[in-house]
Every structure is written in structure tokens, then in C-alpha cells.
């Protein structure tokens, strides 16, 4: 879509996120998938904005664009105008909440977003998928070209490095996910392990859902209200049991999630002792989300029984968040080193103009040589003179053509290594 591919390109980014704008504003600025495709076509004019990408999630709206380096400022202006027009909002409305980033800063921002360093919960995995989706929308709309392709792929590469080389996503940072992590620590795999849900409530149900998604099989549901028990049994494909039958079923469960409004212990030590005996000492894991507690903490003293109440879980979550923040510092270093690499790659993409210049240079050499040797040729007719010049130029062109077209191919394929090799061969560093 670029009018003239031979100009140096830059990245610009305009956006709002959960740190700069309240949710009311983010809602108004957000793009649905259809609006995204439509918006991208509006945004990319081929003149100022050559390529475009919109990442819109509940925590952020980021518009990334490729412009010519010359028209970078115009580019950011155009994006702000675009936001105002396409979202039907006055610019003043969001002006103070929007950040503009260009070149290195824009690259850094996108890398950090994709690597989940800019997320509300650092290290959460969803944002990578969201950027992926945004990219495929841009591809469909035809607004992702050579520059953004490289940028986005580089961002994915950074995200992967951050994920594998740091512990940024290692430990659970939500209470409901903690159940899965601790379950795996105890049982190695959740496959074939059963869950008993006593009571209900949002967090308990979410924990149960996470456990099932992670492979837990066989869900028992004990609830005071029959309707709730049956609803949850249907939802989790489990079996509803009566709270009164708890003593009979407790031994069957490897993982017990307890969340009732009871004032006293629902799972007493005596009950747990009996279950432990019936389980022949196989380990059991109790998650007590209720306040006041429903699982007697004394059960935690029994061998092979592990009890976590809400405070325990919260303490672990807090320490895991701190751990992630430490890991995030290492991730920032990775991002910094990758920015440099990307900028180099982007500059290598500015190779197009060089190819044109090289052809010119070779032809100039031919003409210069002709001028130098002209006297020795004696008197030539204008036709002869033209013929000699044509002879020289066509020889130069014929010889250089396969080389130049090969160079152009490496340029179009964005094959950075080969481009670097061409640069070295012809001494094209400046």
C-alpha cells in the first residue's frame, strides 16, 4: 500500500491504558472487531500512515502505525484525529489521557504490552493472544505491511523470550488459580483427582472451574440448597450430594473446596481423621475460602493433609506477585536488548533507496569513464557517440541487473542477514 517504498519508516503509537484512563473512557474508545477492521481502513491513508494495527482490550486501546520518518509527527496527529472521528468523541475528551510514543519508545511500548509487562497483573497470558488477534485483523484489513509485520513478529519473539527466560508467569497470582497450582504441587497432575465443593459462591466456583479445566475429574457438590447443588452439578457435570452425607463422601475427594456461611467448622478434625483412614493415608488438599473458617485448622497438623485458608492463599498470592515484579525487572532488560535489534532491522529495511542509488552510481561510473576516454576515440558522429554510451550503459545494466534484482528480493523478503551482506560487499554503510 506504500506509495513509495523507498523512504525510511518509523513506528508511532497512540494509546490509553488502565493506568492513564478510567474504565468509562476506555469503554468509549474501545474497538469491536468489526469496528477495528473498518477503522484500520480509515486510518491508513497510504500517505501519512502507511500501515496500521489496533489493539483493543478491556485494559487498553493502542493504535500502532508505520509512517515515514519525515511525517512522524503528522502521523501521531492523524491517529488522534482518527480516534476522535471514528469513536465520535471530541479530542479534548481524551487528550490528557492519551500517550504518544514514537520510534524506539513506541517499539518499547508494544514489546512491553505483548510481553505482559504493562498489564494490570504482570505476566498474565491473555494479552499475547489479544495482540495476535489484533494482528490477524490488520492482516485481513490489509493494513499490516513490511514494517508492522516485522514489528509484531519481533514483539511475539520478545514475549516468548520473556516467558521462557524469566519467571514472570511462573506462579499463580489469583486465589482461584492458586488451587490448581497447589493441587499440582501435591498430586503432580490433577487428572483423575476428584473435587468436592462444599457450599458455593463466586470464588469457590471459579476455583472448581480452574481445577476441572486443569484436568480434575469427578466433582461432588454439597450445598444446603438443593437448587444450587443441582445447578452446580449440571454446570460441572458432577454429582449433587446432601450436606448431611458429607461424612460418607469426604474420603472420596482429593481436593475439597469449602465455602459456606456456616458459623462453625463444617469439616471437623474427627471427620478428617476418619477420611484419612479410609483414604489409606493418600494426601488430601483442603481449600477453605469461608470466613469464619469452615475447615478446622487442626486438620493441617495431620499427616498428608494440607489445609489452606483464605489468609494463607492471600499471603502466597502476595508473595508471588512480589516474585513476578522481581522477574519483571529481568524482563525489562530483555526488552531493551530486543529494541536495539529491532531498530537495526528496521534500518536495514531502509535498504530500498540504496538499491536505486547503487544503480545510479554504476551508471555514473560508466559515463565518467566514457568522458575520460572520449579524446582517444577521435571524432565521432553523434550517432556513434550515442551508440558507445548505450553500449557502456547496457553492459553495466546487464551485468548489474541480476545482482540488483537479487538485492531487491532480499529487501522485499526483509532478509536482514543477506541485506547486511550486500551492504558489506558494496561498502554501502552510508
Amino acid at each position: 500500500m506504500s506509495k513509495n517504498p523507498n523512504e525510511p519508516m518509523s513506528i508511532v503509537l497512540v494509546g490509553v491504558n488502565h493506568k492513564t484512563a478510567p474504565v468509562e473512557m476506555r469503554e468509549l474508545l474501545a474497538f469491536s472487531e468489526e469496528a477495528c477492521t473498518e477503522g484500520l481502513r480509515l486510518l491508513v491513508d497510504g500517505e501519512v500512515v502507511r500501515e496500521g494495527l489496533i489493539v483493543s482490550t478491556c485494559n487498553r486501546v493502542e493504535v500502532v502505525a508505520a509512517t515515514t520518518t519525515e511525517k512522524m509527527q503528522e502521523g501521531t496527529e492523524r491517529i488522534s484525529d482518527f480516534l476522535s472521528v471514528s469513536r465520535n468523541l471530541p479530542r479534548d475528551f481524551f487528550y490528557d489521557h492519551v500517550y504518544n510514543r514514537t520510534e524506539e519508545d513506541a517499539v518499547r511500548h508494544l514489546f512491553r504490552v505483548t510481553s505482559s509487562l504493562d498489564s494490570m497483573v504482570v505476566g498474565e497470558p491473555q494479552v499475547l493472544g489479544q495482540v495476535r488477534r489484533a494482528y490477524s485483523l490488520a492482516l485481513e484489513a490489509g493494513t499490516a505491511g513490511r514494517v508492522l509485520n516485522r514489528l509484531v513478529h519481533h514483539a511475539f519473539h520478545v514475549a516468548k523470550r520473556v516467558r521462557t527466560e524469566t519467571g514472570i508467569a511462573a506462579n499463580a497470582v489469583s486465589i482461584s488459580y492458586m488451587a490448581v497450582e497447589l493441587g499440582k504441587k501435591i498430586f503432580n497432575t490433577l487428572k483423575g483427582h476428584s473435587v468436592l465443593l462444599i457450599g458455593g459462591g463466586e470464588m469457590a466456583e471459579l476455583s472448581a472451574r480452574h481445577l476441572i479445566n486443569a484436568g480434575a475429574e469427578g466433582v461432588l457438590i454439597a450445598n444446603r440448597t438443593v437448587e444450587t447443588a443441582e445447578r452446580l452439578a449440571a454446570e460441572f457435570n458432577g454429582t449433587a450430594i446432601s450436606l448431611n452425607d458429607l461424612p460418607d463422601y469426604l474420603a472420596e475427594a482429593d481436593i475439597v473446596i469449602c465455602s459456606t456461611g456456616a458459623e462453625d467448622y463444617v469439616v471437623t478434625e474427627a471427620l478428617a481423621r476418619k477420611a484419612l483412614e479410609e483414604r489409606r493415608n493418600r494426601p488430601a488438599f483442603f481449600i477453605d475460602i469461608s470466613v469464619p473458617r469452615n475447615v478446622d485448622p487442626a486438620i493441617g497438623e495431620l499427616p498428608n493433609m494440607f489445609v489452606f485458608d483464605i489468609d494463607d492463599l492471600e499471603a502466597v498470592v502476595t508473595s508471588n506477585i512480589r516474585e513476578r515484579e522481581k522477574e519483571a525487572e529481568r524482563a525489562e532488560l530483555i526488552v531493551e536488548s530486543e529494541i536495539m535489534q529491532f531498530q537495526q532491522a528496521l534500518r536495514a529495511l531502509d535498504f530500498g533507496p540504496t538499491i536505486g542509488a547503487l544503480r545510479q552510481k554504476l551508471q555514473d561510473i560508466a559515463r565518467l569513464e566514457l568522458a575520460r576516454q572520449k579524446n582517444r576515440l577521435g571524432q565521432l558522429t553523434p550517432e556513434q557517440e550515442r551508440a558507445v554510451e548505450a553500449l557502456l550503459l547496457s553492459t553495466v545494466n546487464k551485468i548489474s541487473h541480476p545482482v540488483l534484482s537479487q538485492m531487491r528480493r532480499s529487501y522485499e523478503a526483509s532478509d536482514i542477514e543477506t541485506i547486511q551482506a550486500w551492504r558489506d560487499i558494496f561498502g554501502l554503510e552510508e
Binding site: 511462573a170 498430586f187 489409606r280 493441617g300
Partner: protein, 272 residues
């Protein structure tokens, strides 16, 4: 064969360092380096043992230097098996350093020529090498029981106290270490049983005695009893978890006594 053993040592040290770094930094690439150098070291080590066997003319498990080297080789093989079966990379950080130390000691021991006992009289029958090999493998298995049990205890404590450090997240799950300890104990016990039996048979064929009240024999018998108990308790499931793990740790103290202690107290088993 000293230079070959030094090459083995170098490979094992590289493997150990990378296993520790992989454990600390949780990097897959480091673990891969550790595995490759371990494989290289193990191949060289096997070659070194074979060369010893051919050159010296006796099964390379008699003198102190040979025994330490052979034990290291056995541990490396055992680690490989556990890794293959359970994929527990974390074990490497704990088993590779002692392997390196054993090879290091084996490499600096000058020569065993000053030992009063000569190997020549022992290799005439196949029973003796079988006896020593099985016992050494049993020791290696018991070391794995010890490591897995320690990991169990460490993590169980962390779970009970609800304080999780970095090491906690890198160790294999309770169920996994429990399984490793159980099967390693069963395999170790089987080997020890057959090892002791062949030892008795060999001794009987040599001079008619099957038991001499030698310290090493007494310790070996105690060790055998303890692991038998461990297996029985584990299989009846009464002693799953912490208590079994404590037994696995305590059992290894007995193994150490059997291996080193007997030497200090003298007796019939003066070698190995």
C-alpha cells in the same frame, strides 16, 4: 587411564554446574547442556571402566579408586534412568555434584598398589563381581531414595508452613518424589538382597563361611532390614508421606555407615 578419568571429571563438572544453574534460573537451554555433557561424560566413563578392566585384567570394582569411580558411574546411570522415567530435571542439581566429587577423589588417588590384598584372587569366579556390582547399584538406588525423601520433607514442610521459596517451585511434586522414593527403595532392596546372597555364596564357595560378623556385614544386614521395613510400610500404605520419607533419609545414614564406616572399624571387608 588417569587422563580419561580427568576428561570424565570435566564433563561431569560441566553437567553439574549447568544442572545447578538450570535449577536456579529455570532455563531449559542450560538443562540441555547439562544433559549432553552428562551423556558425554558417561560414555567416556564407561570407556574408562572398560579400559581399566582390559588393562588391569580384573573387574574394575575392587580397589578404592575403582570403587569410587564405579559408584559415580552407577549414580550417573541411575540419574539417567530416573530422568527418563520421571523427567525430574531438578534431581540433577543434587546428584551431579556428588558424582563429580567421587570422580575427583578417584582421579587423585594415586594407585592402589600398596594395598595388601590383591585383586587377582577375587576375580576368578563370577560371583564376586556380581556381588559388588549389585551392592553398589543398591547404594545408588538408596541415594536416590534419600534425595527424593529429602525433597518430600522439604516441600511437605513448606506446604504445612505455607512459605514457598524459589526452590519449592522448582522441585518435582510430592506425588512424584514419593513415587521415585518408593520404586527406588524397591529396586535398591532387590539388588541388595541378591547382592548379599551372592556375597554369601561366594564366601561359602571360598572357605565355607557365609557370615563372619564383620562390621560391614552387620551394617549391611541392618540396612537391608530397614529398607525392607520401609517397603512393607509403604506397600501397606500406613506410612505414606512424611514418616516414610524420614525413614528414607535415616536409611541413608546406615548406607553411609555400611560404605565408609566398616572401613574405619576394620574387618574382613577391607576393600571397596
Amino acid at each position: 587411564m588417569r587422563s580419561l578419568l580427568l576428561a570424565v571429571l570435566a564433563a561431569y563438572i560441566v553437567a553439574a554446574i549447568h544442572a545447578i544453574l538450570a535449577f536456579v534460573n529455570k532455563r531449559k537451554a542450560l538443562h540441555r547442556i547439562s544433559l549432553w555433557s552428562l551423556a558425554a561424560g558417561f560414555a567416556l566413563h564407561t570407556a574408562a571402566l572398560l579400559a581399566d578392566w582390559i588393562i588391569d585384567g580384573h573387574y574394575p570394582l575392587f580397589y578404592r579408586r575403582e570403587t569410587l569411580s564405579f559408584l559415580a558411574w552407577t549414580l550417573a546411570a541411575t540419574y539417567g534412568l530416573v530422568l527418563f522415567r520421571y523427567g525430574t530435571q531438578a534431581l540433577g542439581a543434587f546428584i551431579l555434584p556428588p558424582i563429580s566429587v567421587l570422580v575427583f577423589i578417584a582421579a587423585i588417588i594415586q594407585s592402589d598398589s600398596n594395598t595388601a590384598v590383591s585383586a587377582s584372587g577375587f576375580s576368578t569366579t563370577w560371583l564376586f563381581p556380581v556381588h559388588t556390582t549389585l551392592v553398589i547399584f543398591a547404594y545408588a538406588a538408596f541415594f536416590v531414595v534419600f534425595l527424593a525423601s529429602s525433597m518430600y520433607l522439604f516441600q511437605e514442610r513448606a506446604l504445612k508452613l505455607k512459605t514457598f521459596g524459589a526452590a519449592f517451585h522448582r522441585l518435582p511434586s510430592l506425588t512424584t518424589v514419593n513415587e521415585i522414593a518408593t520404586s527406588a527403595a524397591a529396586i535398591g532392596l532387590t539388588m541388595l538382597t541378591v547382592g548379599i546372597a551372592t556375597g554369601m555364596m561366594w564366601s561359602a564357595s571360598r572357605d565355607g563361611h557365609i557370615w563372619r560378623n564383620d562390621p560391614k556385614e552387620i551394617f549391611a544386614a541392618l540396612t537391608w532390614l530397614l529398607y525392607l521395613l520401609l517397603i512393607i510400610y509403604r506397600s501397606t500404605a500406613g506410612w505414606r508421606g512424611r514418616r516414610a520419607a524420614w525413614l528414607g533419609v535415616a536409611g541413608f545414614a546406615l548406607v553411609l555407615c555400611t560404605f565408609f564406616g566398616a572401613r574405619l572399624m576394620g574387618g574382613y571387608h577391607v576393600f571397596g
